[in-house]
């Protein structure tokens, strides 16, 4: 619902990074979006396209990587993603079926990289 605000923050981060390199042109931004981040990737892409349309950043490509919920089995140490059918839940370990698990990641909303063209 607030994807336009998020898209703006992403574009700002890309512009800031580009401004550190004299003469560079912003070409792309990569973000990682966890399933528990509360942000919908399709809505984010749409919002990003809307805010860059008609500006000098119109051609900037947004690459959004969907990140699953990762859990750790406290019994066998295995790290695994929650299954596609219930991506948000703390699923039992697929190796040893243990329910003794902990949350590793899946709520991230991070800028991974910025792509620039330098003179």
């Amino acid at each position: 619902m607030h994807e336009v605000g998020i898209a703006n923050s992403i574009l700002e981060a890309g512009r800031t990074e580009t401004a550190r390199r004299p003469g560079a042109k912003l070409m792309g931004i990569g973000v990682r979006v966890g399933v528990l981040s509360g942000v919908d990737v399709d809505a984010l892409r749409f919002a990003f396209e809307c805010i860059v349309a008609g500006t000098e950043d119109e051609k900037v490509v947004l690459t959004a990587e969907d990140c699953p919920r990762m859990n750790r089995c406290e019994d066998c140490g295995r790290e695994y993603a929650s299954p596609q059918l219930s991506p948000f839940t703390d699923a039992p370990c697929p190796g040893c079926q243990s329910h003794h698990t902990s949350f590793v990641s899946g709520d991230q909303l991070d800028i991974a990289f910025v792509e620039v063209e330098e003179p």
């Binding site: 619902m1 998020i6 703390d90 800028i111 792509e115």
Partner: protein, 232 residues
């Protein structure tokens, strides 16, 4: 083409403000709680019942956020504690900057407990850290028991789930055990309380939860003060 690795949070600026707010709350031993739910789940009503039970003179303060109107602040002001409305003017969540700005007129020494009633919305408020000690999510029994699965982000981040309007259980098809199971699937450690502000059922347990958190916060505060004194 050069690829620059960045590795920072998208909401970096909000995070910076939230960390600073959290530091200030800790310095002043303030227990700050961020209440989040869909519109109409009973955040304001729960806060009214909570404020009504505190003796006047207790150092309680409330910030309440809405897209428009000061109606909630007017409701909450009747209990004699400082209340401030944050009108977001269309923004669907509160952010750190709004809290920082709203706190400016209040000396932090005059606050022990700060309740923040977020904008009614189960999605966006979950992304914005306000420096709170805990997020509390409300779900009323007139909603669907699958909401924790539909809106997992907030149920994942909340320390406490309060199921509200439980006096209506005989009249609605809400499966309370399924709701709890769903919430625990997303967040196994979540604490759960059941309350009705109409009948008062569960309010003692809620007040006990609050008193325990408050005791811990002030205990931590006096312990850290003690260690400072020891160092000097």
């Amino acid at each position: 083409m050069t690829v620059v690795r960045v590795e920072e949070k998208v909401l970096n600026e909000n995070q910076r403000i939230a960390i600073e707010l959290r530091r200030r709350f800790e310095e002043h031993n303030i227990l700050c709680l961020n209440f989040i739910s869909a519109p109409g789940s009973g955040k304001t009503t729960l806060l009214e019942s909570t404020l009504a039970a505190f003796p006047r003179g207790e150092k309680i303060a409330v910030l309440t956020g809405d897209l428009q109107t000061e109606n909630d602040a007017r409701r909450l002001m009747r209990y004699g504690f400082p209340v401030q409305q944050i009108v977001t003017g269309g923004v669907c969540h509160l952010d750190g900057k709004m809290i920082d700005r709203a706190l400016q007129p209040w000396p932090l020494e005059t606050i022990d407990v700060l309740f923040i009633e977020n904008v009614g919305n189960l999605v966006c408020p979950s992304s914005y850290d306000l420096g709170e000690e805990a997020k509390i999510v409300l779900l009323s029994v007139t909603e669907g028991e699958d909401k924790p699965l539909k809106y997992p982000s907030i149920f994942h981040k909340a320390a406490l789930l309060i199921l509200t309007k439980i006096d209506l259980l005989p009249y609605v098809p809400f499966d309370i055990e399924a709701a709890k199971t769903n919430a625990r699937q997303v967040n196994p450690g979540i604490e759960i309380l059941e309350v009705s502000c109409s009948t008062g059922k569960g309010m003692d347990e809620w007040r006990a939860w609050l008193a325990e958190r408050r005791g811990k916060r002030q205990g931590v505060g006096s312990a850290s003060r003690g260690s400072l004194e020891n160092r000097n």
